[in-house]
């Protein structure tokens, strides 16, 4: 009897939680679809508000937020959203994102060219680390299996598996570096200083939409790298992407 009661409670709890999750998910999906419709009707402000209400945002959602911001004339905010959307974006979508970013920079009157290295970085950034790790390990183990068990065309298989292992390992290493490298966009024109205070020497100016690398944070200041010059800038003027 006791076992039956416990079983009932477990089943009830699981069902209850499951229903809640399903309800929450469907509510969020409803918001996403409504926001899409609002965007189609050119009600960008309402669409943006709805998109922002969705709690867990992935690439497509961030991309749509960028579109809304752009249509509202908030070009810097759009650039930030699109840059954020690069993480986890499908390869086919990277082109769209880069195109939109270029248009936004154009609107701001800033010349913006995407270098080959930047494109590669975007592609690597769009991959999930877990899958890269998994692919490397598969080919790495395959290499040893070939080494131990395959006699025919052994050299060919060994070369193939080792090359792929090396390629994936390189991508994994780059991905690790990219994860640690925090980029930010300047949201309002400001200066950066030699230390985390305005009393320090001014090292240079940052223009709106400039891309910088954040090295560390100290209270209200970020230590940044701007074109090789390392300095400090107030957090209020930049936003991480």
């Amino acid at each position: 009897m006791c076992k039956k009661i416990i079983l009932f409670f477990i089943v009830f709890t699981v069902c209850f939680l499951g229903m809640n999750i399903v309800c929450l998910a469907s509510k969020q999906e409803e918001m996403f679809l409504t926001a899409n419709n609002l965007y189609e009707q050119k009600k960008y402000k309402q669409a943006l508000d709805l998109y922002k209400k969705i709690e867990k945002k992935d690439s497509a959602l961030l991309y749509n937020i960028g579109n809304c911001e752009f249509c509202l004339g908030h070009y810097v905010a759009a650039i930030i959203a699109w840059n954020k959307s690069k993480k986890g974006a499908a390869l086919g979508n990277l082109n769209d994102i880069n195109h939109n970013i270029s248009v936004a920079y154009d609107k701001l009157g800033i010349s913006h060219e995407v270098s080959f290295w930047q494109e590669m970085k975007d592609i690597i950034n769009s991959f999930f680390l877990f899958y890269l790790q998994l692919l490397f390990l598969i080919f790495w183990f395959l290499f040893f299996l070939v080494f131990m068990f395959i006699k025919k065309l052994r050299g060919l298989f060994l070369g193939f598996t080792l090359s792929l292992s090396f390629i994936f390992l390189s991508i994994v290493v780059i991905k690790y570096r990219l994860i640690r490298r925090e980029e930010a966009i300047v949201t309002s024109a400001t200066s950066f200083f030699a230390g985390p205070n305005e009393k320090y020497h001014k090292l240079g100016d940052l223009s709106v939409a400039d891309k910088i690398i954040v090295q560390k944070k100290e209270k209200k200041w970020y230590k940044i790298d701007h074109d090789g010059v390392v300095g400090w800038v107030l957090i209020d003027h930049v936003e991480k992407v």
Binding site: K56, Y63, N67, F70, G73, H74, Y75, Q133
Partner: protein, 585 residues
């Protein structure tokens, strides 16, 4: 019975009061707010005017002639009946705003068609309040609370910042509660909100007082002698004679509400010295800075031009409404104004004034130097802060109607609507079918990844380790030691020859014999070696030569070069003997 007696008393009182109205007397009195006789009132300092109406229980407010020249507020009406005679007291707080000689009164009251008049009061109002010397002494001795206003300066310029504070002192140990402070009204000053009160302790006339202090800032609006009238503090003290006597503690402590007035503050406010030009503010300012959100823009695009001022003054009222000498081809519009409290240096604030600038034609345009002129009251002179000129590069583009950057779409009106399809068309469409919901992507932890990566290398490592250990163990087995004894001896000899270490030759041969024949290196003797040589069929001549050689290398080894001359061929001889032994052994 009790009810009947009560009724009779009531009727008696009523009749007595009716009879007494026949002879109503009105008296007009003036005293200080703490109840002392008033000889002379002060500007801004309230005093009390009381109208005592005896012989009437009517609480109708009397009309007081001449009181309209003062700022007045009625503070209470009290009725007393003593021996059946009712007297009503009307109290007024009166504040004079200018010094001079005033006449208050008479107070007039109408009762049942008759008009009654009081005496008149001659009130002298000066800059300072005067009390009777005896009253002054009593006051200072009995003061349980003191309330004062303290300014940081009294001689100021119009618009200059004045830091003021009030302090409410009360004797330490007395259970006094400050209920509230009522600031006086004055249109002569622009006042900022009070800061939160702070507490402290101080000694005054050998008595320890606690105090509560609150600060505020104010700015005089006009020149002249201006008075800020006294503030009123309302506080509570424990009631001395409680209705319940000693049992009062059972019902909670009862309190009596009292009030006290502070001193007024008088300022000598000077007007600003003449100046040819526009003066924006009075105070102290550090910097004036101009910036744009981008220096390159397309024709018709909105550029945010920001003027930022850092200083110490009332930033709520400070405003810059125009950009001076703006080139004709640049249009500008007011945008946001905001104060940055924490970003400036200690005690300073920053205020930003944003303008949206729109270039109507392509080219290089310069927004000229902007000036901010202010009067510095510390140095009593005018100062001017200047920005740097800002240059804009305007690229050719389609001129668009102006749309403020941060303005929401709904507020843009028709102009905004023109712009929307254009923006929409320029960028790629939204994503409707790709994954939009966030999923947390966990990667394999780095240490696990490295461990798994190294896992296939484990068998190779084990095999390699085994081989190594086998080789090492073989290298040091007795058989291997014997086998490698000659090669080791040759290596050692070469090394010794290189270093010219002739002393080592003897030990090299001892080690060789010990390793080759399994003897103890420490216990081996010359006789053991000769015995071995004989066994290996060396001739007597060879053995004699060997003995001579050993004698030489031994003397080198044990006596050094000081006593024995070193034969340079000794290394060659050693190699000769090694070759010979290798051949025979």
């Amino acid at each position: 019975m009790v009810k009947i007696v009560g009724n009779y008393i009531m009727i008696f009182c009523l009749l007595a009061s009716i009879l007494k109205t026949q002879g109503i007397q009105i008296t007009l009195k003036a005293k200080s707010t703490d109840g002392f006789k008033l000889d002379q009132a002060a500007v801004g300092q309230p005093f009390v005017v009381e109208v005592v109406v005896e012989g009437s229980s009517s609480s109708k407010r009397p009309e007081i002639k001449g009181i309209e020249r003062f700022r007045t507020s009625q503070t209470g009406v009290s009725v007393q009946i003593i021996n059946g005679q009712a007297s009503v007291t009307h109290s007024f707080h009166v504040i004079a705003s200018k010094p001079g000689e005033y006449i208050i009164g008479p107070a007039i009251i109408e009762d049942k068609g008759n008009t009654y008049e009081s005496n008149k009061l001659d009130v002298s109002v000066s800059d300072q309040q005067l009390l009777d010397p005896e009253d002054e002494l009593k006051r200072s001795e009995n003061q349980k609370v003191i309330f004062e206003l303290i300014p940081d300066k009294e001689d100021v310029f119009v618009g200059e910042k004045i830091n003021c504070r009030f302090r409410f002192y009360y004797l330490k140990g007395d259970n006094i509660k400050l209920e509230g402070v009522v600031p006086s009204e004055s249109k002569e000053f622009r006042r900022k909100k009070n800061e939160k009160p702070i507490g402290g302790t101080v000694k005054i006339n050998d008595q320890v007082y606690n105090y509560l202090e609150s600060r505020w800032i104010m700015y005089p609006k006009r020149a002249g002698i201006i008075t800020l009238p006294a503030y009123q503090a309302i506080y509570k003290v424990p009631a001395e004679d409680s209705f319940f006597g000693g049992f009062s503690s059972f019902f909670g402590r009862s309190y009596e509400q009292k009030e006290i007035f502070s001193n007024p503050l008088t300022f000598n406010v000077q007007s600003l010295p003449p100046y040819d030009g526009v003066v924006t503010d009075v105070g102290q300012f550090n910097s004036f800075y101009a910036s744009v959100d981008r220096a390159v823009a397309k024709q018709g695009d909105g550029i945010v031009y920001t003027l930022e001022i850092e200083g110490d003054n009332d930033f709520d009222t400070l405003d810059l409404k125009e950009v001076k000498n703006m080139p004709e081809k640049l249009k500008y519009y007011d945008s946001k104004r905001y104060v940055l409290d924490n970003s400036a240096k200690m005690g300073m604030k920053k205020k930003r004034f944003e303008f949206i600038v729109q270039a109507m034609e392509p080219g290089i345009w310069t927004i000229p130097v902007q000036e901010f002129t202010y009067f510095d009251p510390e140095e009593k002179k005018y100062k001017t802060l200047k920005t740097e000129p800002v240059t804009l590069k305007i690229l050719k583009g389609v001129a668009k109607p102006f749309v403020p950057l941060d303005q929401p779409q709904g507020k843009q009106g028709d102009r905004g609507k023109d712009k929307v399809p254009e923006a929409h068309d320029e960028i790629r469409d939204i994503q409707k079918h790709r994954r939009w919901y966030g999923v947390s992507h966990k990667a394999i932890p780095l240490w696990v990844f490295i461990l798994v990566m190294l896992f296939p290398l484990l068998p190779f490592g084990i095999t390699l380790g085994k081989n190594m250990s086998r080789k090492v163990s073989e290298r040091y087995s007795p058989h291997m030691i014997k086998k490698y004894a000659f090669s080791k001896a040759i290596k050692s000899l070469r090394f010794a020859s290189k270093k010219n270490d002739f002393r080592a030759i003897c030990s090299i041969f001892i080690t060789l014999f010990a390793e080759r024949f399994g003897l103890n290196e420490i216990l081996i003797t010359q006789d053991d070696i000769i015995k071995i040589l004989q066994e290996k069929e060396f001739s007597q001549q060879e053995i004699n030569n060997w003995e001579n050689f050993v004698a030489k290398i031994s003397s080198f080894a044990y006596y050094g070069t000081d006593k024995v001359r070193f034969d340079k061929n000794m290394f060659e001889q050693a190699i000769f003997w090694l070759d010979k032994f290798k051949e025979k052994f």
